[in-house]
C-alpha cells in the first residue's frame, strides 16, 4: 500500500514546531473556521486548515513546499476567531521559520539563525568584533577629531568591500534558497504565463500593501510594515544617490541639509523611525495583533530597530555628540546593518523572497 501517506505525529519537526511557538496546534479540531474567516486564502486551496492538519500529522515536507504557508500574512483573523484558541496564525509563523531554516543554503546558517533564542549573541557579536578588528587593522581604531567625518573612522573603500561582498553572499545564498523553494512549490502544479508578467502585479500589490489591508485583526500592523518597507526602499535609493553624488557629481560629504539626496535619506529615516515605532507598539500590545512573538521574531525586529536607531543617532551624533560616542554608535550601526544583511536569507527577513515568490506562483497557477 505505497499509496498511503505515512503520518508521524511525533516527528522531530513537530517537536521543533512546538519550540517555535507552534504548541497550540494540538488544540485544533479541524472545524475550518480559520479558512472561512481568512480573507487572503485562495478559494481552491484555502489555508490555514490544511497546514494545521499537516502540522498535527508532522509532515515537514508538505509544509516546506507549500505556497499557502507564505500567502498567509499573519493577519491573525484566524487566531481571533478560532474557537479552540489553536492560534493558526502563530502555527503558520512557526512553520515559516522552520521552512526558512530548511531552505537555507548553507544549512548551518539556517540553524544558527533559526535558533536565535540562544545564538543571538553570536549573530550580533561576530559582526561587531569584525568591525572592531577591521578598523583596528586599517587605522588602529583611531577616533577622529571633531568635526567628525565618518570617512576618517571607516574609509569608504572598506564599506564597499564589505557590503559588496555581503551583497554577493546574499545573492548566492538567498538565490539558492529561492530556486529550491520555487522548484518545490511548483512540483505539483503546472504554472502558466511569464514570471515577469506575474511579478509586476505582485510587486504593485506589495508596494501598496493591498493584501495586508484586507486583514481585520492586524489592521494596525499594515501601516507600520508599510512605513518600514518604504523606509528601507528610500534608504536604498538614498545610498545609491550618495554614490552618484560622490563619484559623478563630485560633491563633498556630508551633503548639506537641503540637498535633494539628503532629503530623501532623511525622509527614509522618518519612515523607518515611524514604522519601527508602530511595529514595536504592535508587538508590545496586550491583545497581540501580531500573534505570540518568539525569539526568532524578536531577533529580527530588534536588529531592524537597532539599525534604525543607530542610524538616526549616527546622523545626529555627528553634530551633537562627543566624537568618541558618535563613533561607537556608528560602529554599532554598521554592526547591526551587517547582521541584518548577513542573516537576511535565514531570518524572518527572508519572507521578502519567499512570500513574493509564493505570490507570483499563485498568480501563475490561477485558472483564468
Amino acid at each position: 500500500m505505497a499509496s498511503h501517506l505515512e503520518i508521524v505525529p511525533s516527528s522531530e519537526w513537530r517537536k521543533k514546531l512546538h519550540d517555535r511557538g507552534g504548541a497550540p496546534v494540538t488544540r485544533c479540531f479541524q472545524c475550518a473556521t480559520c479558512c472561512s474567516v481568512c480573507k487572503l486564502a485562495p478559494e481552491e486551496q484555502p489555508f490555514p486548515r490544511r497546514q494545521m492538519l499537516w502540522s498535527q500529522w508532522g509532515l515537514s515536507d508538505r509544509m516546506a513546499s507549500d505556497p499557502g504557508l507564505w500567502l498567509c500574512h499573519q493577519c491573525n483573523d484566524c487566531t481571533t476567531h478560532c474557537p479552540r484558541d489553536a492560534r493558526p496564525g502563530d502555527i503558520l509563523q512557526a512553520a515559516r521559520s522552520l521552512a526558512v531554516e530548511r531552505l537555507a543554503v548553507p544549512g548551518f546558517l539556517g540553524k544558527l539563525v533559526g535558533n536565535a533564542k540562544s545564538t543571538w549573541p553570536i549573530l550580533l557579536g561576530i559582526p561587531f568584533l569584525f568591525w572592531v578588528a577591521a578598523l583596528y587593522a586599517v587605522n588602529g581604531l583611531t577616533i577622529p577629531e571633531s568635526p567628525l567625518v565618518y570617512d576618517r573612522l571607516v574609509p569608504h573603500w572598506l564599506i564597499y568591500a564589505v557590503f559588496f561582498s555581503v551583497t554577493g553572499f546574499i545573492l548566492i545564498t538567498a538565490g539558492a534558497g529561492a530556486i529550491k523553494f520555487w522548484n518545490q512549490i511548483g512540483r505539483d502544479k503546472p504554472r502558466q504565463g511569464s514570471f515577469i508578467g506575474s511579478l509586476i502585479p505582485v510587486l504593485m500589490d506589495i508596494a501598496f500593501h493591498g493584501r495586508f489591508g484586507k486583514c481585520d485583526t492586524a489592521k494596525s500592523r499594515k501601516w507600520g510594515h508599510f512605513a518600514l518597507l518604504w523606509g528601507f526602499v528610500l534608504a536604498a535609493v538614498a545610498s545609491a544617490f550618495i554614490i552618484v553624488a560622490m563619484y559623478i557629481l563630485m560633491e563633498e560629504l556630508p551633503l548639506p541639509f537641503w540637498h535633494p539626496f539628503k532629503i530623501i535619506g532623511n525622509v527614509a529615516a522618518v519612515f523607518l523611525v515611524v514604522g519601527g515605532f508602530m511595529v514595536l507598539q504592535n508587538r508590545l500590545r496586550q491583545d497581540k495583533p501580531a500573534g505570540n512573538a518568539t525569539a526568532y521574531d524578536n531577533f529580527f525586529l530588534s536588529v531592524v530597530l537597532m539599525v534604525v536607531i543607530t542610524g538616526v543617532l549616527t546622523e545626529v551624533g555627528r553634530y551633537l555628540m562627543h566624537p568618541e560616542l558618535a563613533s561607537w554608535i556608528y560602529i554599532l550601526h554598521l554592526t547591526s546593518v551587517l547582521s541584518l544583511f548577513v542573516t537576511f536569507p535565514f531570518s524572518k527577513f527572508a519572507h521578502l523572497i519567499y512570500r513574493t515568490l509564493a505570490m507570483v506562483h499563485e498568480r501563475m497557477t490561477i485558472k483564468s
Binding site: 500500500m1 499509496s3 498511503h4 501517506l5 505515512e6 503520518i7 505525529p9 511525533s10 497550540p24 494540538t26 488544540r27 479540531f29 479541524q30 490544511r50 492538519l53 498535527q56 500529522w57 479552540r84
Partner: protein, 746 residues
C-alpha cells in the same frame, strides 16, 4: 347517558359564525334534558351555570359545545365516575375555519352538535376500580442504573426488591477506576464512587437484595405482579407493583473485528480490556511508544452495530488522560470518524488535546496490520484532506460499542409457537414453515430475563437494535409492557452519568404507575383515564386478533384462545376495539356503537342538493393537535367534512367505514401519526394496523364497484398543521371528482 345537558358557548367568535336561535330546539329534539348558552362558558359564571344545572336537574351527561377538547380542561373538569362529558368543537372546527353565517357552516355546526349528543347518549359511566395495589418496586439488575433506581424508589417511600445475577452489586462499573468528568471545570476524570452507592443500597432498610439470583417468573399485571425469584438457596415469592429492568449492556464482541487486528495480535485490545489493565495498575512493560485509539470500532457500521454508543469517545478521552498521567512517555493518537463529546465534555476534549498533545485525526480506519517486530500499521481512508494515510503503532485500542442485555420477547414467543406447531404435526407444509421459524429464532433460546407470563412472549418486545424502549424520544423509560420500565444502557447506549439519571427517571415512572393504579387510572398516554375495556365474550370467536394486535400485551389467552383481559396492563388505546371483527370490545366512552351513532347522526343531503358529505377520523394524539394549530392560524377547509376524533387510527373499526358508505357518506379519510421505523404513533402500531385494515377495505370497495379513493389513510406529525387543510381539501376534491356515493338515499 340519559340526562344530558347541552351547553353552548357563543364566545370566541362562535356566536358570530352560526345562528344559535334554533339550537335549543335541536338539542331537545335529540334528547337533551337541559340547554343553556353563555357568551363565555369557561368564565366563573359559565362554570357555575353548568354546576347548578348538574345539581338542580340531576344531569349525568354534559355536552359542552365550545372549543377543542384540548382547551380549558381544568375549567370543564368533572368527576368521571359520576358525570360523562363530551366536547363538541365549534370553535376550531367551525367558527375559526369556515365562512361565518354560511349555509354550509351552519349545517356543519348542527351536524357536530347532533353527533356529540348521539355519542353522549351511548356513553356509560366507568365503574370505580376495586383493585388492591402493591407498592413494591422490583428492580432487575444492580448496575449503576439499577442501584440508583432502587435508591430513588426507596427514597420515595416504596419497598424495593433488587435482583442481581452476579454475586456482587455494581455491574459493569466494577471494572472501571475513573469516569468521565461530571463536575466543573470538566477537565479531569471523575472518581468512580460506585462503592459508596453500593454501600448505601446494601444498608437501606427497605431495599431487599437478592444476589446471584434470577427472575423465575412474573405473572399478572402492574400493581399485582406475582414474582418468583430463583436464588441460590431456593425460591422467593412476593408481589410487586411495578418493574424496572436495568440489565445493562455488554461490550460488542471484538472477535468480529479481525479487520482491525483483533485476535491477530495481542497488541490490539479493546477499550474495555484497557480499562481492566488500567484498574489493575497500568500498562505492562515494555511500554508501547505509541498507542493508537480507533473510535467507532464496529459501531455505526452496516456490518456490525449500526448505532453510536454515545460514550466511547468520552471514554477514550478519559483513557488518554489517565494513560498520559501514569505514563507521560507514551504517545497517544486517536483516529475517529466523528468525535462526539457533547455538552460540557467539550471542555474535557480541549483539555486532553492540550495537556497530552495527543493527535486526534478524522477518517475511516480500513485495516490494522501486524508488521515485523511487534509493530502495527493502521491504514485510514477518507481523511480530512481526502488522502489515504497510514500510521505506525505499538498498541491499538479499539473503542467498541455496547449491546443491550435484553431478550427479544416476540422472537422467543415465535420460537415457542413454532415448536408447538411442530409437535402438533398437522400438515407437512406447516411443519416445514415452523421449522424455518425455529431455525431463525433458535439463538433466542434461553435468553429470557423477566419470564413474563404474557401471551406475547416472556420478555419485552425490542426495537431494531434490541433496545426494549418503546419510543425513542417522546417517552423515555416507557416500554411496550405497562408497569415495566427500562433504565440505563439497556434502554439506550449511555455513559455512567446518564445511567445514574436514568435510574431516577425510571423509578419515578414506576412510582407514577403504582400511584395511577392506586387511583384506578391509566398511565401514559391516556393518563388519568378511569375507564376500562369490556369484552362481551359470549360472542367471541377466538380469532385472537385482539391478543395478537394489542401493542402492550394486555391480553392473555385461555386454552381455547379466548382473551383474558388484564385491565391494569391496558393503556386504553382501543386497538383491540379496532381489531375485533365481532365488535364485542368497548369502552364506556368509546365504543363501536357510540361512533356508529355519531355517523348516523350526520344529515346526508340528497344527491341533487350537490352537497357531498365526508367523514374525517382524526387521531387525538397528533392530528387533532395539528388541526387545532391550523385553526388557531385561521386556515380554512372544506365545510362538507365532519371530523370525528379517535383514540388512535388503530382504534378505528372497519364497520364504521361500511356504516358511513351505506348511509350515503361519500368518503372517509383517516389521519394519524407516522408509522415505520421512526414511528410517532403513541400506541406503536396504530397507524400501521390502520393502513393494513384500510387496504383490505379498499379491496372490498373495488369488489363492490365502489371507488377505492373513497377511503384514504394519511399520516402527519404534530407540527405539520399546514397539511391539515391541504389533506382535507384534496380529499374533498377527489370525492367531488369521483362523484356521489351511489348508495345515497337507500
Amino acid at each position: 347517558m340519559d340526562k344530558v345537558g347541552l351547553f353552548l358557548c357563543t364566545g370566541c367568535e362562535i356566536g358570530a359564525a352560526i345562528n344559535t336561535e334554533n339550537i335549543e330546539e335541536l338539542a331537545k329534539e335529540r334528547g337533551a334534558k337541559f340547554f343553556a348558552n353563555h357568551p363565555c362558558l369557561c368564565s366563573e359564571e359559565g362554570i357555575n351555570l353548568i354546576h347548578n344545572a348538574v345539581e338542580n336537574d340531576g344531569l349525568n351527561g354534559l355536552c359542552i359545545a365550545a372549543c377543542s377538547h384540548r382547551e380549558k380542561t381544568e375549567e370543564f373538569r368533572v368527576n368521571p365516575l359520576k358525570i360523562s362529558m363530551e366536547r363538541v368543537c365549534l370553535r376550531e372546527q367551525v367558527a375559526w375555519t369556515h365562512k361565518p353565517n354560511d349555509e354550509d357552516t351552519q349545517m356543519l355546526a348542527e351536524d357536530l352538535l347532533k353527533m356529540g349528543l348521539a355519542r353522549i347518549a351511548k356513553n356509560e359511566l366507568p365503574a370505580a376500580s376495586q383493585e388492591t395495589i402493591d407498592r413494591t418496586v422490583l428492580v432487575v439488575g444492580a448496575g449503576l442504573a439499577g442501584l440508583q433506581a432502587a435508591r430513588a424508589a426507596a427514597g420515595m417511600g416504596h419497598p424495593v426488591v433488587l435482583v442481581e445475577k452476579q454475586a456482587k452489586l455494581g455491574g459493569y462499573l466494577n471494572r472501571v477506576k475513573t469516569l468521565v468528568p461530571e463536575k466543573p471545570p470538566y477537565d479531569s476524570p471523575h472518581p468512580n464512587n460506585l462503592a459508596d452507592i453500593v454501600a448505601e443500597v446494601e444498608d437501606h432498610k427497605t431495599i431487599k437484595i437478592f444476589k446471584g439470583s434470577k427472575i423465575k417468573s412474573i405473572q399478572g399485571q402492574p400493581g399485582q405482579f406475582d414474582v418468583v425469584v430463583q436464588t441460590a438457596s431456593g425460591e422467593e415469592n412476593f408481589k410487586a407493583g411495578a418493574v424496572i429492568q436495568a440489565t445493562g449492556a455488554k461490550p460488542y464482541d471484538a472477535d468480529k473485528l479481525s479487520h482491525l487486528g483483533y485476535g491477530k495480535s495481542p497488541r490490539v485490545i479493546t477499550s474495555h480490556e484497557l480499562e481492566d489493565l488500567m484498574s489493575q495498575g497500568g500498562l505492562k512493560t515494555p511500554l508501547p511508544g505509541r498507542v493508537v485509539f480507533i473510535q467507532c470500532a464496529g459501531s455505526r457500521d452496516e456490518k456490525h452495530l449500526r448505532y453510536c454508543s454515545g460514550e466511547c469517545c468520552a471514554t477514550t478521552l478519559k483513557q488518554v488522560a489517565t494513560l498520559h498521567a501514569s505514563h507521560p512517555q507514551v504517545e497517544c493518537a486517536v483516529m475517529y470518524r466523528d468525535f462526539r463529546a457533547p455538552g460540557q465534555l467539550e471542555h474535557f476534549y480541549a483539555s486532553v488535546q492540550e495537556k497530552t498533545g495527543c493527535m486526534f485525526t478524522r477518517g475511516e480506519v480500513e485495516s490494522v496490520e501486524t508488521l515485523d517486530g511487534d509493530k502495527l500499521r493502521i491504514q485510514m481512508q477518507n481523511s480530512l484532506l481526502g488522502e489515504q494515510v497510514s500510521l505506525e503503532a505499538d498498541m491499538v485500542v479499539l473503542a467498541t460499542g455496547m449491546v443491550p442485555v435484553s431478550a427479544d420477547g416476540e422472537a422467543i414467543r415465535e420460537l415457542q409457537d413454532a415448536r408447538v406447531r411442530i409437535n402438533k404435526n398437522e400438515s407437512a407444509t406447516q411443519v416445514e414453515e415452523a421449522k424455518k421459524i425455529e431455525a431463525k429464532n433458535i439463538h433466542h433460546e434461553g435468553t429470557e430475563i423477566l419470564n413474563l407470563h404474557y401471551r406475547q412472549g416472556p420478555d419485552m418486545p425490542v426495537l431494531s437494535y434490541s433496545f426494549p424502549d418503546s419510543h425513542y424520544i417522546c417517552f423515555p423509560y416507557e416500554t411496550r409492557r405497562t408497569g415495566i420500565y427500562a433504565a440505563g444502557t439497556l434502554r439506550a447506549p449511555m455513559d455512567a452519568a446518564q445511567a445514574s439519571e436514568d435510574g431516577w427517571g425510571a423509578a419515578m415512572k414506576a412510582v407514577q404507575c403504582i400511584e395511577a393504579n392506586t387511583h384506578g387510572m391509566a398511565v401514559h398516554p391516556r393518563a388519568g383515564d378511569t375507564s376500562i375495556a369490556s369484552f362481551f365474550l359470549q360472542r367471541c370467536t377466538q380469532c385472537k386478533r385482539c391478543t395478537e394486535e394489542c401493542p402492550f400485551g394486555t391480553l392473555n389467552e385461555d386454552k381455547k384462545g379466548t382473551p383474558e383481559y388484564f385491565p391494569l396492563r391496558c393503556r386504553r388505546c382501543g386497538i383491540c376495539l379496532g381489531a375485533c371483527p365481532e365488535r364485542i370490545i368497548s369502552f364506556p366512552e368509546y365504543s363501536v356503537d357510540s361512533v356508529a351513532s355519531m355517523i348516523k347522526a350526520i344529515e346526508v343531503p340528497e344527491e341533487d342538493e350537490e352537497k357531498p358529505r365526508m367523514i374525517a377520523l382524526l387521531c387525538e394524539n397528533d392530528a387533532i393537535p395539528a388541526l387545532d394549530q391550523a385553526a388557531g392560524r385561521r386556515m380554512q377547509w372544506n365545510p362538507w367534512i365532519r371530523i370525528i376524533p379517535v383514540r388512535c387510527l388503530g382504534a378505528v373499526n372497519t364497520v364504521w367505514i361500511a356504516d358511513s358508505l351505506s348511509r350515503g357518506i361519500d368518503g372517509v379519510i383517516l389521519i394519524g401519526c407516522k408509522s415505520g421505523d421512526d414511528y410517532q404513533c403513541h400506541y406503536i402500531r396504530g397507524s400501521e394496523l390502520a393502513k393494513t385494515r384500510m387496504t383490505n377495505v379498499q379491496e372490498t370497495l373495488d369488489r363492490l364497484t365502489l371507488e377505492s379513493e373513497r377511503v384514504q389513510v394519511h399520516e402527519l406529525s404534530h407540527n405539520e398543521f399546514h397539511r391539515i387543510p391541504e389533506l382535507l381539501d384534496a380529499f374533498a376534491e377527489t370525492i367531488e371528482q369521483v362523484g356521489p356515493n351511489p348508495y345515497k338515499g337507500f
